[in-house]
Assembly symmetry: C2
Homo-oligomer: 206 residues x 2
């Protein structure tokens, strides 16, 4: 079965990276054309992107029939369904376990991206240190949680594990000073192993 979908993405977007990983893992490279949206920020408009997603957010998937889908967990589930993939299991226990992990990791990504916006796009005199401190604490608590549960991660990654890898990769990319590995040896080892996957190695943010 052939498709002619388009994924609007940005090379630095961790949410788009998750979809790009799924596309590779599901062997859908010939069915989805990647379209680089160029620079996207919370204070710029991109007409092409807005026509696919009125909220102007990445990633956005344009389907064969002209419809579109936004929101990375949804796009991933759609592609997994299309290719009959294993990343969203149907068994309720495994399904909600990996979706719960995905939600935690996506929440950490939301916080991290918001922190990035605050500390780069927002004019310096308008930044709010108290807010920055609270969001940083939340990311740290999320990392501690991941350290405590990563010994229960699936040996063959599901959508939850893939999302965790995208968070850690994003922190390395944008928040190297945060040094998330410090005091988290299990998570450090796990990340080193999962980064051996070609789909992850070939989608490093940049």
């Amino acid at each position: 079965m052939a498709f002619a979908m388009k994924l609007i993405f940005a090379p630095a977007s961790p949410f788009a990276r998750k979809v790009r990983i799924l596309i590779i893992e599901l062997g859908l490279q010939d069915s989805v054309t990647l379209v680089d949206a160029g620079a996207v920020s919370p204070v710029s408009n991109n007409g092409d992107l807005n026509s696919v997603n009125p909220l102007g957010m990445l990633p956005a998937l344009k389907l064969d029939n002209g419809d579109s889908l936004s929101d990375s967990p949804l796009i991933c589930e759609y592609l997994n369904d299309l290719a009959d993939g294993p990343f969203f299991p149907s068994d309720a226990n495994r399904r909600f376990r990996t979706l719960g992990l995905q939600a935690l990791a996506d929440g950490m990504l939301d916080l991290s991206v918001a922190l990035r916006y605050e500390t780069t796009f927002r004019p310096e005199q308008l930044r709010w240190q108290t807010w920055i401190d609270f969001q940083n604490e939340k990311v740290q608590r999320g990392l501690d949680k991941l350290e405590s549960i990563c010994n229960q991660f699936e040996p063959t990654p599901l959508i939850g594990e893939i999302t965790v890898a995208c968070v850690l990769g994003y922190l390395d990319f944008r928040f190297a000073d945060l040094d998330w590995r410090a005091g988290r040896p299990a998570l450090t080892d796990w990340f080193e192993q999962i980064m051996l996957l070609e789909s992850l190695a070939n989608t490093r943010p940049g």
Copy 2:
């Protein structure tokens, strides 16, 4: 089958409202105890909430077995699954159509809540008008999209329609000046009809 779950919520949270509506629609009122988290803001800590969701975000569901789930779409899907409800259809077309609508509406909620934080919690001298203008435009574009598709909404609401009702209710609650009804007669009529549902009428934000 009886459950003893706990939902940590706040009366003003539109994300928590969505879950509260599902609980009523699914007849799970005796299985889920609602626990009011009290005042929650991006710059406050709530130890009880953090112990259930390390990111400190509402709503959070504590399960019988001690595990927890966060993120309103996931909690809703979990409860729907538990009660064998109709709100997340299994047929792929209907499923991705309603999940797409949910994602649009949840995206509008994220933007609206961020706008609310910017214009109330953030100290006045640190607010960024350019950002506020861009986020407002996104919400307006989302509303225009809803106006253009609401004649295709399901007559018996699925999770997508319920989420749309939560956005419109939140805009009425926090952004009455925005006057979302202006120029959107179809959406206005649709909202009036859906608000006749007891589960919606009884969960108005406050």
